[in-house]
Amino acid sequence: MDYSEKVIDHFMNPRNVGEIEDASGVGTVGNASCGDIMRVFLKIENDIIIDAKFKTFGCGAAVATSSIATELVKGKTVTEALTITNKAVTEALDGLPAPKRHCSVLAEEALHSALWDYAQKNGLTIEGLEPPKEE
């Protein structure tokens, strides 16, 4: 698999691996039988994402997209976080091999799922946020 240097850096040295005990929102997407499962934890204060962590089961691209997505989302407002699309994730990694594009989609879904969880817990409606797909 020909990965960009950025992808390799992010799966060899993933940023933000771990859990947030008192997370404001947690999202788990994918399923292990398809090969990838991602869990994203967000800590949100005053509408700002002050911390993000992840744990993933999946290939190098799955780890790299989780890692970069948690990097991108930190410091953003909840509304700004919605601009982190699969395309943005892919671009931030200098591209992904075609068979691995689904990993960037999964990373976007994991972020959205964590945001949805946050909104549900706090009785909020986030403009433009769709409920997570049922697995």
């Binding site: 698999m1 990965y3 390799i8 799966f11 060899m12 993933p14 691996v17 859990e19 788990t28 292990a32 039988s33 398809c34 090969g35 990838d36 499962i37 991602m38 869990r39 744990k55 993933t56 089961f57 999946g58 290939c59 190098g60 799955a62 780890v63 068979p99």
Partner: protein
């Protein structure tokens, strides 16, 4: 570099390279030509054919050169069938070089039975006996599996096929040069082999076809290979394959024992020192001497592979041919693994260049890598929480 992927391919044996060199330069003539220099090349090709025949207990006129294992498998299977159609039998743990030929034939209207395997990846001969029908035209079972190294009861399967008068083919790509093989004693009608799996060059292989087997050509053209496989001979490949096979046979008594011991040491160390690991396949005599296949639970195989690769360690998940596809190995699934555990499998394949030091070095990379990756795994978290 730590090379532990000898089931994917092997480095050329120095004796094979040495034997090949003059045929790139001085003896370049087309063996089909009539002049004297061609005669010399023709004689060398004949000697190589004899030498390969001797290595598997066949006759010289039963060996046909092909471009490799895949062509040999395709030819054996397609060449023996005809427009009558009918029923064909294979196992559920074939290499894609056979499996996809059967799938192709199924689309053409043939009825296919895939024999199941047990948890060690072995076919039960009784299941072959049960599967045979009056219109069964061919039985093809892999000699030794490329992913998990399980060695099939070929003699028993051959005997059943022979009893019913059904052509019996075996893909012996992983076995030839590593295990003693006598096609007559094993009741084999057709056998595919590939040089680069036993320290020969890539792009050359052979099909053994027992005298009297009705096999139509697949490649039409010139009169090469006794009118059965057209195309100018890959002379350097043929010479290199014969030299490599001779060398492998010479070294086999010592190498079989030495490599089997390396294999068992690696298996034992992984299972003892790395938690949540499981050996896939058979043990001892029923396993290829160089094959180790382990599922590292909770760690996705391709991620593990990428980390090992960044540490200059060459191994693979399942088969090299399917490692770009994101689907669990059909071999491990047939052995009853769930798809998650199948996706966590890594194959280490040892060969003549590997040493005790390689195992020590590999373990020094495997252990910390597994430990690190386990901590990143959401599946491992889920497992811990379920246990609580």
């Amino acid at each position: 570099m730590l090379y532990l992927d000898n089931a994917a391919t092997t480095p050329l044996h120095p004796k094979a390279l040495e034997a090949m060199m003059p045929y790139f330069t001085e003896f370049f003539a087309n063996p089909s030509s009539v002049y004297a220099p061609a005669q010399k090349v023709r004689a060398a090709v004949g000697e190589a054919r004899q030498s390969i025949a001797d290595a598997i207990g066949a006759e010289r006129d039963e060996i046909f050169f092909t471009s490799g294992g895949t062509e040999a498998d395709n030819w054996a299977i397609k060449g023996v069938l005809d427009s009558r159609g009918g029923h064909i039998i294979t196992s559920s743990v074939e290499h894609h070089g056979v499996l996809y030929v059967f799938e192709h034939l199924k689309k053409q209207g043939f009825e296919v039975t895939y024999l199941p395997v047990d948890t060690e990846g072995l076919v039960d001969p009784a299941s072959l006996e049960e599967a045979i029908r009056p219109d069964t035209r061919l039985i093809s079972v892999i000699f030794a599996n490329n992913e998990v190294g399980s060695i099939q009861p070929i003699k028993e399967l051959g005997a059943i096929a022979n009893q019913h008068g059904i052509p019996f083919h075996t893909d012996a790509v992983q076995a030839v040069g590593h295990l003693p093989i006598d096609v007559k004693a094993l009741g084999i009608d057709m056998l595919a082999l590939s040089a680069h799996k036993f320290y020969g060059p890539k792009g050359i292989g052979a099909l053994y076809v027992k005298r009297g087997t009705k096999l139509a050509p697949v490649l039409h053209g010139g009169a090469q290979e006794n009118n059965r496989r057209a195309g100018t001979e890959n002379v350097t490949g043929i010479i290199g394959m014969a030299a490599a096979l001779r060398a492998s046979l010479d070294e086999m008594p010592g190498e079989f024992t030495r490599v089997s011991a390396l294999r068992d040491r690696l298996i034992n160390e992984i299972l003892e020192k790395i938690p949540h690991t499981k050996l896939n396949g058979a043990t001892g005599e029923k396993r290829l001497p160089g094959n180790v296949n382990i599922s590292f639970s909770f760690i996705e195989g391709e991620l593990f592979l990428s980390h090992l690769s960044m540490n200059d360690c060459c191994v693979s998940t399942g088969s090299a041919c399917s490692s770009n596809a994101h689907e669990p190995s059909h071999v491990l699934m047939a052995m009853g693994l769930d798809s998650v555990l199948a996706n966590c499998a890594i194959r280490f394949s040892l060969g003549r260049v590997n040493t005790e030091a390689d195992i020590t070095n590999l373990m020094s990379i495997l252990q910390p890598t597994a430990e690190k990756l386990l901590k990143q795994s959401v599946l491992y978290d889920m497992h811990l929480k379920n246990k609580r």
